[in-house]
Symmetry: D2
Subunit: 373 residues, 4 copies
């Protein structure tokens, strides 16, 4: 028996599995369905744990976020969930990047590899977004995701994780990857630079951790709740600003001796966040929008133009940033586990989502632990 | 007699000169004042011609455009005007980049050379903007400009022009340089790429010329007046859209076979321009804001984030883009002269400004010809 | 009958075709073999014309150029030829980027889309080079190429060409794309900049055309044969240097007033070319090596380090540069047809190769016209 | 008395000082000369400590390293030394970036601020290198340096240091800044990436520290002496290779599972270092040459071209990398003090240089402590 066969025997794959499936809006039900087969450049992952993301909640209610061309239709009869990790249990044809038994965390997006953006390396902006036949996958968005016992993944959406990283921590890698991508698109070379992170949600808090790991100083976090800001301090924030008590623009100016900062990573989605960010940065500053208000908002564009400010909208976790975030977490440069607040089993996904949505018990990251290791 | 001395003798410099001086808002008067002396790294330019810019009009009314730190006070008792060209007539200490008798066109900004932005090469975003003692100059904004017979210029704000380029055409170089800079910050490599230019003012029209010269295709121009759009065609636009008759977003989608474009150079300052631009670009597209509405406007930030769009505010003509624009104009790659519509003498600067402000007789670029060559 | 079916009927596909096949080194024979089938993301191209490249000659003798990991084995029993153009006659599954009847020119490389380099957009540096099962293709290198009546192509290796471009001219697009890529990797923004191209072979000559089209000035070409240099002038060189009569470093310094240039595109492969290039550029200059000597050569690395010079080796035609080159050629910005000197039919491929190899009759680009249109 | 005056009183400045002055080659003598006056944008620094650099030794023997244009003449009758730190004791006109009493470490290069390179932000490649009247300064190279009690510095060549950093450690900042610059020019985003540093001299060893601080993994160091390699481990190297016992290319391939690395920072200057680096990197890899052999060497350029490798020569510490290195050191991300092996007083500069040159007692960084704090 080959060693490869021996490994496969350690991970017997049942013919059917439990999976949550979205019918219409808010109609999530636990079903029994066949375990999928990995195709070329794909593997089958046994999902060990998955975190609930705010985008999951949006998907349940409204479908996958719309895009330029009118957006995607509400995706029915599929399994959502994109912040998961697990164990490789079967390899599709031509796969040698991973072995059976490897523990992995996922990225969301695998581009088509053939459009102009993918050819540039901007696979999260794939021009064939959602076009499955052309090879695009967005796990849990346009293709089946991780609220299930098994999930197929492209080799392009997986990153190895070390043995000493817990399942729950590994579910946070893609979140940290999104924050890392936000810093990357602003230039990525931030040692010794002042960075503001606005909004202490999961992306903001891991953004603090990543920015500090890369040497930014000071890292300034703004938010409305002291408990979150305190968590930000533990993740590396040098300064925190509670905007219910302090004007954030004035505070940033004060902290930086009037100079402002070069970079703002906007993770709050607040209506006035871009305007405030534009007054936090100095001339030639850069702002990454990793969150957004759902309605149109008043923006002072004059300030952006007159001050030569660049604004980068990002969707997801491009440029292999998830790999870099995973590396920093494997090196224990910041403790992402801090943002994991609650755990539920697979059978309680609706409860997990409710905790995340309603921030019950000050929930930040709610993790569904599918298997006990 | 040295040849340098001989050249100097060809350009006798009087002790005093005529210059327009701005007192309070809208108080422009023609005075007699001493010809200034060039310092180190500076030359004295005999101003031969100068164009009127929309920013001049703003400066007359409201002062130099405000910036992050509260902006600059209304600049009184100085000579405005920044789109000029002329002849070098005296060299300050250490200057060998130019010779007496050289014809030159100007850029606006000379950075301090010592702040973080200048050290990065982003001298138009100088953190010491307006701080004269630290070396910053913005001709006609914070230091004396070109509505005068003579003006001092830093060697950093001058570009050589060929003998066969007219004075009036040379005044347009800095405008084309601003358009070039806008294309540069979006990546600058645009051969074969679809580019939309919104707003057929001087920057937009020269932007069409530059984009076409660099090989963009199609170059699409939007505007409200057929005469301007026709001029855009002459400057190289492959397609023009009169937005009073045609929805610009739909038109761009139609022209590009539904794909949208990668780049939009926004030169209109219209309230909805950014929202429209965000629907003209494809996923991962880039928008440069070279103009802006004076009031805050409603912006759909969700669209920018979901579609991974980057938005670049620019102020002025950085990265030596003026040199590149001058090179293309010297090579006659596009005919910027088309946008020069009216000419007045130095004594009629207020009339020239009125023509530009009120677009009398469909004025685009109004040039003040100070000397007859 | 659908229009798509109607188009297909215009291009009947025979079951078998003529193709040149390489056995061992220098063993090229014309055989009859089945017409291949396009797979997903592929099309079948009826090859209309193909040019002979110096790399073809190397492949015939020594196999595909070796790489870091020991290189590829001599590729036997396949059809070489990579500079071809033709007509799309059949679409593989999921293809909508092209229609039957489209005229196209090719690129060489389709990356695997799953390695680190492909994910960065550097698909010509694919880490799975030659690994067919993972999706890599290099037409005429590792997979069947164009010395045949039909060839399968990935949608990633094709660019549309206009009706008014001849078959022969279209075969030169990939050569111009390589030159364009060389300019891109050095920064790509070259309007008004001095550029030296060393070596007036096909890449060098089209490099002159591309550099001039993008506004470089002066474009300086070096070489040993006046006829080639004269052709360079016709393609846009402002200055030519015959290095048998003039020291090229001194000449460049003289032409540039002692300043040197910012960019050298090295296309000669001469033993001393890098050393000379390092003395042609100014401090902080950039050199692209698009050719190379086959033996190790003496290099003065001290000069490269002390002068802060960057040296970019390139293999092939990355970053979709072929699309940009095609756009400039479609716009008739330079006349690549000048370098096409000889034409042969498919049956005379060995003669065509001999002309190219031995430069018989001063051959530059020898084209095999497979079909008469 | 103003607080500024009070501060000045704490740092009385004598009229004359002790300084080492270089006459002809190897003629270094300690003289008494006037304390210099800072000009605009300059300060007077009381030099507290200075490290000996290999370039100092080269300067003593051969003069400042030659450049493209034939290099600089042997600089006579000036004070060498460029790796120093000290205390600001007097401000020149317009300086507000620093206050009297500030502790600072230095960079070497202040560009002219007016050439094409400086305008791009590449001030270490200033085209007016050595041209003092145009504003260029290279401390200890072309202008007076730090083997003296006082030295004038441009505000562009100083970085603040924290109170808890020793004088000796602060002298190492510019060395770490050079290593940081080398990583920057290769892209700078290296978390989770494999990096090889060749040559465990001061730049190589601090390069290990910087690479590890930025999250590179594994960081592999090559060298010939176990003691140096052991120091590399303490600075963060995950793997070390003694090339007297192990083939470095094979070892790198073995450590990386056959993949090779993306980045090599070459700090050895060994004759075969570039060839080896080109076989350590994978396709599309990048090599920074921070050192060089003094004679021309055999280089296999074919390997660089075929594998799409980029080679970056660097001179010095550009892009404000010194600020970033100082930030990482202030954050105690790596312990640069480890490479400080010997200390001498100002009177024993020749002995200090001899220790460094002859590596007496395995000297790495020899520091001259000018003042006892």
């Amino acid at each position: 028996m080959s060693s490869s066969q021996a490994r496969a025997n350690e991970y017997p794959i049942p013919p059917r599995m439990k999976a949550w499936v979205l019918g219409g809006p808010e109609e999530l039900s636990l079903v029994d369905k066949p375990v999928p087969e990995p195709g070329p450049a794909e593997v089958l992952v046994r999902v060990d744990a998955i975190a609930v993301c705010a985008t999951d909640i949006e998907i349940l209610q409204h479908g996958v976020p719309a895009m330029i061309d009118g957006g995607l239709p509400f995706n029915r009869n599929y399994t959502p969930g994109h912040e998961y990790m697990g164990t490789v249990v079967k390899l599709g044809p031509s796969v040698d990047e991973f072995q059976i038994g490897d523990r992995i965390a996922v990225e969301v997006h695998a581009g088509c590899g053939r459009c102009q953006r993918c050819r540039e390396g901007m696979y999260t902006s794939c021009l064939n977004y959602g076009y499955r036949a052309k090879g695009h996958r967005a796990n849990g968005f346009t293709t089946d995701g991780g609220f299930a016992e098994y999930a197929v993944n492209s080799v392009n959406t997986m990153v190895h994780i070390p043995d000493d990283m817990s399942d729950a921590e590994a579910t946070l890698i893609v979140t940290a990857g999104t924050a890392m991508y936000g810093l990357d698109v602003m230039g990525g070379i931030i040692a010794g630079e002042a960075v503001v992170v606005t909004g202490p949600g999961p992306i903001g808090l891991t953004g603090v951790g990543v920015a500090k790991a890369l040497g930014a100083q000071p890292v300034i976090l703004t938010g409305t709740r002291d408990s979150r800001l305190e968590m930000g301090r533990k993740l590396g924030a040098d300064e925190v600003i509670n905007i219910t008590r302090d004007d954030p623009v004035e505070a940033v100016r004060r902290i930086t001796g009037g100079k402002g900062v070069q970079y703002v990573l906007e993770c709050s989605g607040a209506a006035n966040a871009l305007n405030e960010a534009a007054r936090m940065v100095n001339r030639g500053g850069r702002i990454c929008l990793a969150a957004f208000p759902h309605e149109s908002v008043q923006v002072d564009l004059a300030s952006i133009v007159r001050n030569n400010i660049y604004v980068f909208g990002i969707r997801g976790e491009g440029r292999s940033a998830t790999h870099r975030a995973a590396a920093l977490m494997a090196q224990k440069r910041f403790d992402a586990k801090l943002i994991h607040t609650h755990t539920f089993p697979l059978s309680e996904v609706p409860t997990a989502i409710r905790y995340a949505r309603e921030r019950i018990d000050d929930a930040i990251k709610v993790v569904v632990q599918i298997r006990q290791n």
